[in-house]
Symmetry: C2
Subunit: 277 residues, 2 copies
């Protein structure tokens, strides 16, 4: 039986989502907890919607696992409660729900879109040490109108080669559907992004471009040239990981889950792009 897991974590003390030898990762922590509770003798393997980097947070991460030990009669509410209780020893990750996955559901291939937020505290507002793990602090004022002019100029279906870490044979074409900036109640700048998928370090590069223009260091027109050239650039910085949070993964209606997953697989096979998020 396939189950869906809804997961939230503070990325500060994790070496990212994906399991790596001798490092504390979210994937390993949750897989170990599942194994313990289900008394598994073989390893369980989670497949995830967004493979976040070290330091990146999530409030709306989604994963799936195929588990022979779970059937129609298993009490998943009780299983979730046991997971919560066991993970209390690692309170920086919370499994909010374990549910039966609908037919055709694939955490990684079924999504229509991913949503991220990036939080910046510029020097116009008070720094809140209680939010320092989720905010990039910048020592200059940022113009929110310029930031929004920049983000608007990046939205669309295009080659994001200027904003992606290149990978052999992988496409850098994505559809950035939403990218907008607002100041929250505390005055912090919050950028909200949505795309069908993001390539590696793409969100942090897009935010870096906005910061460069928003602080007056780069002209919007020059950024346009960089964007259109679609090759890696040093015109802006990749922003630090800790300002970034994966907030939501959007899936299609249940009856389209399988078709959507198949479509994504075909597209990725065609482009050789098998491991973005």
């Amino acid at each position: 039986m396939r189950v869906r897991l809804d997961i939230a974590y503070d990325g500060t003390d994790f070496a990212g989502w994906a399991t790596q030898p001798n490092l504390r990762t979210v994937q390993q922590t949750v897989e170990d907890a599942l194994s313990t509770i289900l008394r598994l003798t073989r390893p369980v393997r989670l497949v995830v919607a967004g493979r976040t980097d070290a330091g990146v947070h999530a409030t709306g991460q989604v994963a799936h696992a195929d588990l022979d030990e779970i059937d129609e009669k298993t009490d998943l509410v009780r299983l979730t409660r046991k997971l919560t209780s066991l993970l209390n020893q690692s309170p920086d990750v919370v499994v909010r729900a374990v549910t039966r996955a609908p037919e055709g559901f694939d955490a990684r291939f079924s999504p229509m879109a991913r949503r991220y937020e990036y939080r910046i505290v510029d020097n116009d507002i008070d720094r809140d040490p209680l939010k320092r793990h989720q905010s990039a602090w910048i020592n200059r004022p940022l113009d929110v109108t310029l930031m929004n002019d920049t983000s608007s100029s990046l939205v669309g279906l295009r080659d994001f080669g200027a904003f992606c870490k290149p990978r052999e044979g992988a496409t850098t074409i994505r559809e950035l559907q939403v990218f907008e900036w607002n100041r929250d109640d505390s005055g912090a700048l919050v950028g909200r992004l949505q795309a069908d998928a993001f390539c590696h370090s793409m969100v942090r590069a897009l935010v870096g471009a906005c910061v460069e223009v928003g602080s007056g260091k780069l002209a919007l027109k020059d950024l346009g040239d960089v964007r259109d050239a679609a090759v890696r650039t040093s015109a802006f910085k990749i922003m630090p990981a800790h300002g970034l949070t994966l907030t939501e993964v959007i899936y299609p209606p249940d009856d389209q889950l399988g078709a959507r997953a198949q479509l994504t697989r075909v597209k990725r096979d065609a482009t050789g792009n098998g491991s973005d998020s």
Copy 2:
């Protein structure tokens, strides 16, 4: 010249405000930074409005220091900027402003009131690991109406002996002016408290009483008896420190600062109560 410092901190990795040998404290961290920047050869001593315990946070802490090195001509904006920059190495504490203290200002004795917030995530809502350092997690549902009935029954000028760690010769009479509960956008229960002053562990005991009644473990009437007996009790728990934040210190208008400080001193001398907050 006396200066006023407005300070915010994440209490997680501090052994509280007050300096203690071989422990990392907020007071020592800020005093050391001031000494370095002003190149002081003798120790500087901060006097604080609220001496928070280990693990307690502050967004609105206030302190003062008397510094011969600062006069009318000192650029305090520049000094604040230098402090911010130096404290970047300890980003869990931020000095938001250093300003000339008005005549008669005393960070500890001039306040009219202190405000605190306590944040609880009960089992009716999703736990957010990103806020775990500022929230107490409780494994049962809390009734916000019962919580408010409880907090209302505690407001007033009374002997808070049931909620205070007793200290030889010190009064436990306080005026609790505000104590109310609301659920915030995320569903977390936030208690807001205001009093002329709080004795040691008083906020966390008051919150503990509300949790006991709000979860149905203690009858409101029985809590009334405990309150009126005004002696230490085991009827409720002292809540954990990390749910608590000092949010504001309220001072009277400038022309009443000196009179207010004198009044507080006389009251404390009369009761032998010299070190609450």
